[in-house]
């Protein structure tokens, strides 16, 4: 592992008119790290993800990925250079089968490399799609229409689609939201393990501190658009300000 950071955000800021959604956000992510992002609603977590993936252009500041300036790139371009994300509310193709969803992710990744003109449904692509599904324990749903599946399965599919094409950085926006409390841990295990196997850098937004403690080496705490703390998970969760503003209640 090199010490060169994979992603650097240098003092980025996002304003919507007079509202400051995020400011002075400087984070460096390194290869192979698993980082949790915590913070109450409106703290700027999703705004941060949206800026990194190009959905929102920062009002000021710079984002570097592999040393290259990617500030203001479109989601399409950030996806092509290796930044993928999953969504808080799963974003999938509901009227198609699970297998088709994965194959579309594969074709979309190849768009600039002849993916549009080549035959879409080929046996090697089907095999690869089944293999991707198997990694996330989704293969038994391969032929089901996505719209008919339970929420947890949809969220896993969303993540499996983000993991196609081995991106260097995967951002998971609340991977366990909408999943029942008993299933959260097993859900995280079944998505984090395969992603770690690819040596990808994973950043996930999470509200459940048990999951944060269990899966993240490092945690970044957001509060009202700024970074309150950034460091090893245990230290951040012990931080007084974090306990007061983010976790709330537990310090009493």
């Amino acid at each position: 592992m090199t010490n060169e950071p994979l992603l650097v955000t240098d003092n980025i800021e996002k304003r919507f008119g007079g509202v400051v959604a995020a400011q002075e956000i400087s984070i460096s992510l390194f290869r192979g790290e698993t980082v949790a992002v915590i913070g109450s609603n409106g703290a700027g977590k999703t705004t941060f993800v949206n800026m990194v993936t190009g959905y929102l252009k920062p009002s000021s500041g710079q984002i570097l990925f592999k040393g290259r300036d990617i500030t203001g790139m479109s989601p399409q371009d950030t996806a092509r250079i290796g930044i993928r994300r999953s969504f808080q509310i799963s974003q999938i193709f509901p009227q198609l089968t699970v297998l088709e969803n994965i194959m579309i992710a594969d074709i979309a990744a190849l768009e600039g490399k002849g993916g549009l003109s080549a035959r879409a449904i080929k046996s090697d692509r089907i095999h690869a799609a089944h293999a991707s599904l198997a990694r996330f324990d989704l293969d038994k749903f391969a032929t089901s229409d996505v719209g008919t599946l339970p929420q947890g399965v949809k969220k896993k599919l969303d993540i499996a689609m983000a993991a196609i094409d081995d991106p260097a950085l995967i951002l998971l926006d609340e991977p366990t939201s909408g999943v029942s409390v008993d299933e959260k841990i097993s859900m995280m295990e079944s998505v984090i393990e395969p992603l770690k196997g690819d040596d990808a850098t994973v950043m996930f937004i999470e509200h459940d501190m048990d999951i944060v403690t269990r899966f993240a080496e490092r945690t970044v705490a957001f509060y009202e658009g700024t970074i309150l703390a950034d460091g090893p998970t245990a230290d951040v969760l012990k931080n007084n300000k974090v306990r007061e503003y983010v976790i709330g209640g537990v310090h009493a």
Partner: protein
């Protein structure tokens, strides 16, 4: 059952080709009806191609008309009457128009796409109606065309035109099937269902839509050229909204499960229209309307779902 799986198309197209060969022996009025319906069917296929991306084009007649007028004007104004030159010219003119308009139209979705495409087709209608040198609303006649320098006798000209039409329609279906089987074809469904997600996977929805517009334009231009060749006449009604509406009608009626569905569907519509006109001259539109209503209520995925449902079970 996968909606994006078109690997059975070669079989369906072979069936279509077989049926069209047999149809050579139909009574001549009906065969002629079939021949013109095949030309229109290609335009409906173009509408279907865009519908897969969630876009309804209410102005597809534009390319149909451009194809027809390209053939007519080259034949009349420049005296070129060679099928082998004229039909490719019809396709090229339509593709140039589709490629240019596609740059604009690929930005729009839903009702905006439908209305904008309708507006552009009606602009052409307006221009042609005003063009006295092109016969205004009457249009103009197209001379009989030659094939590889050979001008068939009057007696067999109809046969030759039918064969040319069938060969080109089958080839167009094969080319379209290849497109539907490609990545660009498969991603159309993704555009229709969740464009944002597609962008986050690294693909450009605009490019996918642009390709579908150009493919549809090529099919429609060929359809217009074949129509001009068949009936030896073109007029501005080809790009009127009523004509375009008919293509959308057939696309809905036939469904989007196969390339051959709209091609056969158009013939079915023409047949129903002819029979209805014969049986009830004052109520044929009512009959057509009831047919449409029945299909939408009973078979929301079009007549093709009767066949795909059987294939599934």
């Amino acid at each position: 059952m996968m909606k994006t799986d078109f690997r059975k198309e070669p079989l369906y197209i072979a069936v279509l080709a077989g049926l069209l060969c047999l149809a050579f022996f139909l009574p001549s009025w009906m065969r002629f009806l079939l021949q013109t319906a095949l030309a229109g069917g290609l335009v409906s296929l173009g509408v279907v191609v865009q519908m897969r991306a969630g876009l309804v084009n209410f102005g597809q007649g534009l390319y149909y008309c451009l194809g027809g007028y390209a053939v007519g004007m080259l034949a009349v104004k420049l005296g070129i009457t060679e099928t082998v030159i004229l039909l490719p010219a019809a396709v090229i003119v339509a593709v140039i128009a589709g490629g240019t308009l596609g740059l604009l139209l690929s930005r729009y979705r839903e009702i905006f796409y439908a209305m904008l495409s309708l507006a552009v087709s009606m602009i052409l209608y307006g221009l042609l109606v005003k063009a006295a040198s092109l016969g205004s609303t009457d249009g103009f006649n197209v001379p009989p065309l030659s094939l590889f320098g050979w001008t068939p006798d009057r007696a067999i000209h109809g046969d030759v035109n039918y064969i040319v039409t069938v060969v080109l329609v089958v080839l167009a279906c094969i080319a379209t099937a290849r497109y539907l089987m490609s990545g660009a074809g498969m991603l159309c469904e993704a555009v229709a269902e969740n464009e944002i997600r597609l962008q986050y996977l690294g693909a450009s929805p605009r490019r996918v839509v642009f390709i579908s517009i150009v493919v549809a334009a090529a099919l429609s231009g060929l359809g217009g050229g074949l129509y001009a060749m068949s009936i030896n006449h073109v007029d501005p009604l080809m790009t009127n909204w009523t004509t375009s509406g008919g293509f959308v009608f057939v696309a809905l009626l036939a469904g989007r499960g196969s390339t051959i569905a709209p091609v056969l569907g158009f013939f079915l519509l023409e047949l129903v229209r002819t029979v209805a006109l014969d049986v009830a001259p004052n109520a044929w539109q009512l009959i057509l309307g009831l047919v449409m209503l029945a299909v939408i209520l009973l078979l929301p995925d079009g007549l093709w779902s009767l066949i795909s449902r059987r294939a599934k079970s």
